[in-house]
Amino acid sequence: MIRPEQGGALRRELIGFAGIVERNMYLIRRFAWWELAWFLYTVANTLTIVFIAKGIEAGGGHLDVNRTTIVLLIGAVIWSYLGLIFEIVTETVAWERWEGTIEYTFMAPISRASHLLGMGAFAVIYGVLRTALLFAVVAASLSVSFGNADFAAAGVVLLISSVSFIGIGMMTAVLPLISPEKGTQLGFIAQGLLLVVSGVYYPVTVLPDWMQWLSVISPATYTLEGCRNAILDGASVSQMWPDIWPLLVIGGIAVPLGLAVFRRGERYAKQHGRLKRSG
């Protein structure tokens, strides 16, 4: 049973959590034209990758162009989704430092869990919508057949995997606290490393043994595999259980671990005077 003071605390945390989502929506609206420009760049970037399959065929290579195009499309779209999640969660520190609001946010009476999960929730909402739009726009530009694709099942896999990505994003979000100048870029490195071992444009079986071992603990491996199974082969959610349960386990570990890492980084920043606008 929840006591009244606990109920009050829970209410405050939920309002704070919603406040983070609300603020990000304000920012998206205020930067709408930049968001559109960035979306066009992502479309162009994705197209350069998916046309590789047709390029190989045009160069005399033999491959299933339809299937390979979809494999590349899914890889590029997941890369974009993961990049967006990391970018938004990393902005927990980086953007606030740039605007100068970091001290006000970090002295406010809200738990770091509500704060970071609020950023994560917004990242997932915005990321899923943007990713679906990106997939639709790029797919419409290609003459590929999706046959019996189960897009709903792919969406479920993406949502489940988002929990793990938020957890890892929390770990990278702390980097701008420790290194104001280079921390954000280190977040991009983490994103790249995660995808290279996860079979972003190729099966993980082509990787060296040590990379294949790393692919087992990367949530992106199961996300990519699950989405490909759902879209290429029409696999249902229940059929993708072998991809879903590792995502649940990794997510269950990544979020508490991410919070612990962030709290540790915040403590370090408070000890060394790094929690301030100018770095």
Binding site: E22, L27, G100, Y104, M107, P109, K270, H272
Partner: protein, 273 residues
């Protein structure tokens, strides 16, 4: 609660590690004391001003009381609550206004204030009613409430900063050079508002400033902070008497051996502003 001091600081110490010149590998690390055994007490409803040059430790004190820094020794309590053991409880009681207004510049005053209020548990219904009241109180024209912050003057932005602090009804208000860089009219408006907060909102105010006239006009007691040490803490008259000076400026000069126009302590000591 009235018997408990609003702020009780005892032997508070904070050091920062600074690297001397040279490459990262060869640069020598040294510990620089930003605050050296600071002790003072503030009663509820009191306004206390701290005078000091850049780098004297004023902002470090504000950031320690705001829970943005962890101490290296000593203690600080706000209304009896340990700042470093129970930061969240202290955060509910404290807010601040600093030299930079610090907002999301593309967002409007209404959006920025709503965002801040959410962290203090205020839902949309509450802020819809409260924000216009607060904006009226600080003399902000309501028709500009939806313009981006970046389109507002510095004085207007500082009014929104005051509104942000007032919105959360803090019992302890930390003001870190709130009028620095403002034109004379905006400066007077901000100072009037600080007086109103004391009179009508029962706020205890710690004001860190460069401005001696401002300190004398607003504060009950004035402290001179020099190289992280509190040299004195008493009324303006008592300070002038102690340092055999006719003006507060002269007293400051006699106390520290330096004037505000001298080289910043910050650059000499390596203490962050």
């Amino acid at each position: 609660m009235s018997a408990v001091p609003a702020v009780q600081v005892h032997n508070l110490r904070k050091e920062f590690i600074r690297r001397d010149g040279g490459s990262r590998k060869r640069g020598r690390r040294r510990r620089v004391a930003a605050l050296q055994g600071l002790s003072f007490t503030m009663q509820r409803g009191e306004c206390l001003a701290i005078l000091g040059q850049n780098g004297s430790g004023k902002s470090t004190l504000v950031r320690l009381l705001s829970t943005l820094l962890i101490n290296d020794g000593g203690s600080a309590h706000v209304f009896g609550i340990d700042v470093f053991d129970k930061p969240r409880s202290v955060q509910r009681l404290v807010n601040r206004v600093s030299v930079e207004a610090s907002f999301f510049k593309r967002m409007s005053p209404m959006e920025n204030l709503s965002y801040s209020a959410r962290f203090y548990g205020m839902g949309p219904r509450e802020t819809r009613a409260r924000i216009p009241e607060i904006l009226a109180l600080v003399g902000f024209p309501p028709e500009r409430g939806h313009e981006p912050m970046e389109d507002l003057s510095r004085g207007m932005q500082q009014k929104i900063a005051l509104a942000r602090a007032l919105l959360t009804a803090p019992v302890l208000l930390l003001l870190d050079e709130p009028t620095t860089g403002l034109d004379p009219r905006s400066k007077l408006e901000v100072q009037d508002f600080i007086r109103q907060m004391r009179e009508h909102h029962d706020s205890t105010i710690l004001l860190c400033t460069h401005d001696m006239a401002e300190a004398e006009a607003l504060a009950d007691r004035i402290g001179i902070l020099h190289q992280g040490e509190l040299l004195c803490l008493e009324s303006a008259d008592e300070i002038r008497q102690r340092y055999h000076a006719d003006t507060l400026e002269q007293a400051f000069l006699n106390a520290t051996g330096r004037s505000f126009e001298d080289e910043d302590e910050e650059s000499r000591r390596g203490v962050p502003a």
